[in-house]
Amino acid sequence: MANGYTGKFLEVNLSKGQVSDTTFSENILKQCVGGRGLAAKILWDRLGKKWQRIDPLGPKNLLLALTGPVTGYLVGTRICVSGKSPSSNGIVGSTTSGEFPMELKCSGYDGVIVSGRAEKPVYLFITDNKAEIRDASKLWGLGGKDTIKAVNNEITSELGKTDRCFGEWKEPGMIYIGPAGEKMVRSAAVMQKLSHAAGYGGYGAVMGSKKLKAIVAKGTQPLPEIADPTGMQQLLTKFIESSIANDSMRRWGTGAGGFATGAGTSSEPQKNWQEEYHHALSFSVVNFETKTWVKRYWSDCGCAMSCMKLATVRDGPLSGAITDNPDYELQAYCGTNLGIYEPEGNVYVSSVVDDLGLCGINSVNTMGFAAELYQRGILTKDDFGFEPKWGDPIAMGKLAEIIARRKKIGKILAEGTYRAAIELGKVKKMDLTKYVVQVKGIGVGGHSPRSGLGFITPIGYPCSTQGGDHTSPATPFPGGEIGSTVGDSLVFCTASLGWRYDPALLWPFYKAVTGWDLNDQAWFDQIGRRIIMIQRAALLLGGPDIAWDPAKDDDNPARFYEPLPSGPRKGSSVDKAKFIEMRAKYYADMGWDQKGIPKSEELKRLGLRDVDRVLQKALRQA
């Protein structure tokens, strides 16, 4: 048994109603590790040859929820959700933090692999080396908060009746979908707790397509044996101390960014990215802190950073909103990008979006797009049933609602920003793609390269295998996108580490847990590069509804080439010629040919001959 792993993965076939255990060899675990890396391996092995024909929302797709070897031991417990993405048709590794991964590992499983499709709504309950598929008809249709309440009550009262009923039963951990996932909204998130979304990739829709409302785990076992408990404990202390030393993240989380990114770096979305500068003091963190925060230090399992804050709106027309206080991304998307510059409105829209199980970035990217079409008169009040005016939180909440429930124009918007633009463009007989701020089906994170002052470079989104995902941007080498595969595959929270790991601590920690040697060189030359290659291949194969053309689609949204209209960086935009140059260099550094397709010799060097064969047949000949 490999140290740090339980050694078992749960295989669930919903079409047959069967659950069984499966394992991976020590060699596979060494090479693919866990989370995003193992997801890429599983998806390619099982679906690679027929990738283009796999409907992400059909029964043949897989829904993966995978921990990694350090999950539970290293600060900040996360799980990586993956599958064929209904947003990009590629593979996205989307992580969410919370107690579920800990409960899963303590149940004796490193991950869950779900295939098929249930006839009726179901949920999966996992406890101590067993699992069962259960009826979820009472849960279907419920929002996030009601789902949590219902599942907690059902599981704790059931466990309380077992013969092991001595004492109180701690609540289970769970990942679940809201109404948006049930309706297969292509940007729907897999949710954990209130606002902890595995959003990028749209895997909530995959769960919905399988009629899988939730995966619930309650484990009473210890975390698996590790190679060097004393060494692990000493290193854990160092990680904890490093979190404690990060005053800014502890004090504000990323929530100081709602003001600072706009005012300081002119790279925060305003009204669907029409502007990126603001100086709205009403939106500064001191106002969130004194208006909406009800818990200052809030953590997930194992986290010493506590970048989260718990928030509510106590009075006024928006009262009753409860959710995580918006982090920077949700301040940007559920706030300024909708023209909202008040904490209460921002918390309100976030709470509505979270409860519906939409992605606070991607779904709201679509909302911004729709509101701009309304601003321009391309869509009207009749399309919505109300007026989605910038800065109106109630109207924006309604917009979220019609998308999640596929009502009115929401039917089309539920297909995601890019697909909606194509569809609406046909109806309106005009090119609406100039208003979409996305890359390969995935709305960009709340960061732009336009001002030149943000952290995203011009190749950040265009060359990423995860499209607009700001947590996995391409960066000029050394490093590239490969760095983001570390946290997503060992599966820990990079935010808990202040966004960058110290190799002198991380790899010894990995060794203390697993007993295996690993280092940056092996990761960046082999393991991580292999993950990116598989993801790139899957993304380029795409299908069945859309296949991406690198010449056209490895590019920034049109809006990033428009000059910034306001602020100290007025007039600044992405320089196309410079971007093309950077892209060519990135392709070469990544081992991709001039068209952006992974080269044969590089794939062979990495032991990915099967990937090479499929690409040869599908792309290079074409």
Partner: protein, 178 residues
């Protein structure tokens, strides 16, 4: 001439509204008592009836020790030095009588199903509150223990505390969440 040592009893004070939910108290507790991370075996367990409403649940050392008095096998006793309840492993049959005797249902079955788990105060220097203090969350802190009966009132079920926190944090809306 040696002086008799003065023993100061300690209490793990709990400021529930400040619990971050990090559960590093469980990690610290089980690394000490089990030599590994094992949340369900922890003498302190953090409940979460609703996200944001986290409640650390651990023995408060009641003045009248209802659990000790209720034990049918005399497996429970009080440590004179610390006041902590001691569980005698061979005598404990894991019957659960102590759990029901506790107003807060705090004693719980060890996942190995062989014995009951009750906080032993780590011999007077509790790891959970040391961790919480180090983290700056100050939900659990080690304080000198006085003579008041007030300590007894902290033997409360986690859901009851969480319901209080829900209203404290969320107002009227909080009544709906649990």
């Amino acid at each position: 001439m040696s002086q008799p040592s003065v023993v100061t009893k300690v209490w793990v004070a709990r400021d529930f509204a400040k619990c971050s939910g990090c559960r590093l108290c469980e990690v610290a507790c089980t690394l000490k008592h089990e030599g590994r991370i094992w949340p369900e075996s922890s003498m302190v367990r953090v409940f979460m009836p609703f996200p944001g409403l986290e409640v650390p649940h651990l023995c408060t050392q009641c003045s009248n020790y209802p659990c000790v008095n209720a034990c049918p096998t005399k497996a429970l006793s009080v440590d004179e030095k610390t006041g902590a309840v001691q569980v005698s492993q061979p005598k404990c049959t894991a019957c659960g009588v102590c759990t029901n005797a506790c107003p807060g249902h705090i004693p719980h079955l060890h996942p190995d199903r062989k014995r009951i788990v009750i906080c032993d105060l780590c011999g007077g220097d509790p790891e959970c509150s040391k961790m919480c203090t180090k983290l700056g969350y100050d939900c659990l802190t080690t304080v000198p223990r006085g003579q008041v009966i007030t300590y007894d009132t902290y033997a409360v079920r986690p859901k009851d505390i969480a319901k209080n926190l829900a209203t404290l944090f969320f107002g009227e809306e909080g009544k709906k969440v649990i």
